[in-house]
């Protein structure tokens, strides 16, 4: 790797239970304007644009082509899309910048879960032969993982409640979060997971700008350099996996260089409290690492944007001088099926 690439700007919407007053492009546009304004760039200055979203969330075919209107994609721009969380769009943009084909990239993602039932929508990403016909919803699958952790002695319900409480308490300082402050742990949704163990359902969008080398230094006082980024996947079948562990996260972290030196901050994409337990173990996070100062996915979980938000939040802490070396993690699929890890660093102060 010869090219230094950094996150130089990050913006997100407020994450809300519903945004029915806005189309997807109407929801997305302010975030695009915000992130461009932070750098002074215009659409025409951007070398590559990549987005992440899923048509299934809002039930709207080819929604990503309509969302492109908000970028100003005419005359045609160099552009791509992934049907995944925006963290994977960022990965594609990072590789594009590595090749030298572009010096700047705009990465955005958005999700509107409010029009449908996201618990059911997410069943459509499961194995279509053996699993999807049973319609096991996303909370049920997470609950299987949580019970496996409890059986293994890795956690218990009070510890999970503490993860929930700490996340929402931290979110008090995050004006974009959906759940902030004291939130009732509530009744079981699918036992052993209670309402408080689950992410809020909401709509939102996020965007970041990447830049290479000196371009990054021009655009940002303290760029968040991507020292490493990697993503890995578990075996397809849940019954093959050890649900109490995440070897794909560990491998991605190793390839991203996360274990070379300690990080001071970690933004983990753990939509369920129990998944933070798995990730802390897989990532070997010490107790002095600041985990999810933003409140994490338990405070705001716009599906398809929440992973990119983790990278953005970690980068923003580097920008503000609150972190020197941060880890960002994104996940996709049931029970932490796919995992992406990025390591971000600021220049020495």
């Amino acid at each position: 790797m010869t090219r230094e690439i950094a996150v130089v700007a990050f913006a997100q919407t407020d994450h809300r239970r519903t945004s029915h007053d806005l189309s997807e492009v109407e929801m997305l546009m302010p975030v695009l304007h915000d992130v461009l304004a932070q750098t002074g760039l215009k659409t025409a200055d951007i070398g590559f644009t990549c987005s992440g979203s899923s048509d299934y969330l809002a039930g709207r075919a080819f929604s990503f082509t309509l969302a492109l209107d908000g970028v100003g994609a005419w005359p045609p721009i160099s552009e791509s899309h992934v049907e995944m969380d925006g963290a994977w769009a960022l990965y594609e943009a990072w590789t594009k910048l590595l090749t030298g084909d572009a010096d700047t990239a705009l990465v955005y993602s958005y999700g509107k879960s409010s029009p449908g039932s996201v618990r059911d929508v997410l069943t459509r990403q499961l194995d279509p032969y053996y699993v999807a016909p049973l319609w096991p919803d996303s909370v049920a699958l997470a609950a299987l993982q949580a019970q496996a952790l409890i059986d293994a002695g890795d956690t218990d319900e009070p510890e999970l409640a503490a993860v929930a409480a700490r996340s929402r308490e931290d979110a008090s300082a995050n004006p974009h979060a959906q759940l902030r402050g004291a939130v009732e742990q509530g009744e079981y949704v699918v036992r052993p997971l209670r309402t408080g163990d689950c992410p809020p359902i909401g709509d939102g969008a996020a965007a970041v700008i990447l830049a290479a080398g000196d371009r990054a230094r021009e655009l940002c006082a303290r760029p968040a350099w991507i020292r490493g980024i990697d993503h890995r996947i578990e075996a397809h079948s849940l019954g093959v996996r050890d649900l109490t562990d995440s070897p794909s996260t560990r491998l991605a972290a190793e390839k991203a260089g996360a274990f070379d030196r300690p990080v001071d901050t970690a933004e983990l994409h753990a939509p369920f409290t129990s998944q933070e337990v798995v990730l802390r173990k897989a990532l070997r996070l010490r107790d002095d690492v600041r985990v999810n100062p933003s409140g994490g996915a338990l405070a705001a979980h716009s599906v398809m944007a929440a992973g990119l938000v983790r990278i953005g939040e970690a980068a923003a802490r580097v920008h503000r001088g609150e972190s020197d070396r941060a880890l960002a993690h994104a996940t996709s699929g049931p029970c932490l099926q796919q995992n992406l890890v990025a390591v971000l660093e600021g220049d020495p102060r």
């Binding site: 007053d21 449908g116 059911d120 299987l144 059986d151 079948s237």
Partner: protein, 317 residues
């Protein structure tokens, strides 16, 4: 600002999926009340079976019959079953490692309550009365502590009339909202007016408006009434009757056209009627035809004006 619209939307589709040899044997086996696993290169037995080793990616295919009894490896109590799930009464989701298998199968476990379920409990398959070669041929698991566990008969995995595919029905229900700009457009249609939006930067008027200018990437907001006259900028002749129910009563051939309404900077599209299909031409002047109770134009017809000069619409092609 007029009320933002919302309407129910159902997305429903049957996915027809073909099966590979291992999947075909497994699902045919379920139809015949036989459970098959597949053996990996290192001797493990995977149930449900797959065609490639999840560790080595090696192609695998050696089928092994396993028992219909097994052990719960993890579970979760579902007190409020959702549409499509295996049981309508409260049940446990469970991963079950069948005797003879090294991996676990996800399914429902019928039990009286969460206190009756624990990891390590013994269960057996309850077969569906009617079976077709699908994972739902297993109705669910049920608690089983009997000692009577018939040994698998060592089925070869070869069956008469193996299933070669499944049809997986999927239905998702939404409450659709088109957002601010399109709601305003649809409201105006209700009054038989066509209202676009102007880009504050390039001043182009988009009909129908989607809320953003695709050239400038900024929000459109100023509403501009366009039409009622318009110009056919280009068209095609449709010769194949649509399968879609909304179009069944339209006789072919007919013309489908791009129509630049007066005052609009983007052509919309619609059907041309009231003129023989082979007389439609670029530059033809048309107007919308609204049928009774319709909330949108049924089609467009000639409005009697002389054809538009090419230069007036060349930028809108």
């Amino acid at each position: 600002m007029p009320e933002v619209l919302q309407a129910p939307l159902v997305v429903e589709f049957p996915f027809t999926r073909s099966l590979g040899p291992v999947q075909s044997a497994f699902l045919t086996g379920l139809r015949e009340r036989v459970v098959l696993g597949v053996r990996t290169g290192d001797g493990r037995v995977l149930v449900p079976p797959v065609e490639y080793d999840p560790v080595t990616a090696e192609e695998i295919g050696g089928l092994v019959e396993v028992a219909q009894t097994g052990t719960v490896t993890t579970w979760a109590w579902n007190h409020a079953p959702r549409r499509g799930q295996p049981l309508a009464t409260p049940f446990a989701w469970a991963l079950v490692r069948l005797d003879g298998a090294d991996t676990a199968l996800l399914h429902a476990l019928d039990a009286p309550g969460p206190d009756a379920v624990h990891t390590g409990m013994r269960v057996r398959i309850r077969w569906a009365d009617e079976r077709s070669g699908a994972i739902t041929d297993i109705a669910c698991f049920e608690p089983y502590d009997g000692a009577d566990q018939p040994e698998p008969a060592g089925h070869s995995g070869e069956f008469e009339n193996p299933v070669t595919g499944i049809v997986a029905a999927a239905r998702l229900d939404y409450t659709y909202s088109p957002g601010r700009a399109q709601s305003a457009y649809i409201h105006a249609l209700g009054d038989r007016r066509m209202v676009g939006e102007r880009c504050p930067s390039c001043t182009k008027v988009y009909v129908p408006p989607r809320g953003a200018c695709p050239t400038c990437g900024v929000a459109t907001s100023e509403q501009v009434e366009v039409g009622p006259g318009g110009t056919v900028t280009t068209y095609c002749i449709v010769n194949i009757k649509a399968a879609h129910t909304a179009n069944l009563d339209i006789e072919v051939p007919y013309v489908y056209a791009h129509i630049a309404l007066d005052g609009a900077d983007l052509a919309l599209h619609g059907r041309i009627g009231g003129i023989p299909y082979d007389q439609v031409r670029m530059g033809l002047r048309v107007e919308a035809v609204w049928t009774d109770d319709s909330r949108y134009p049924d089609h467009y017809r000639p409005n009697g004006e002389p054809d538009a000069d090419y230069d007036t619409y060349r930028e809108l092609l």
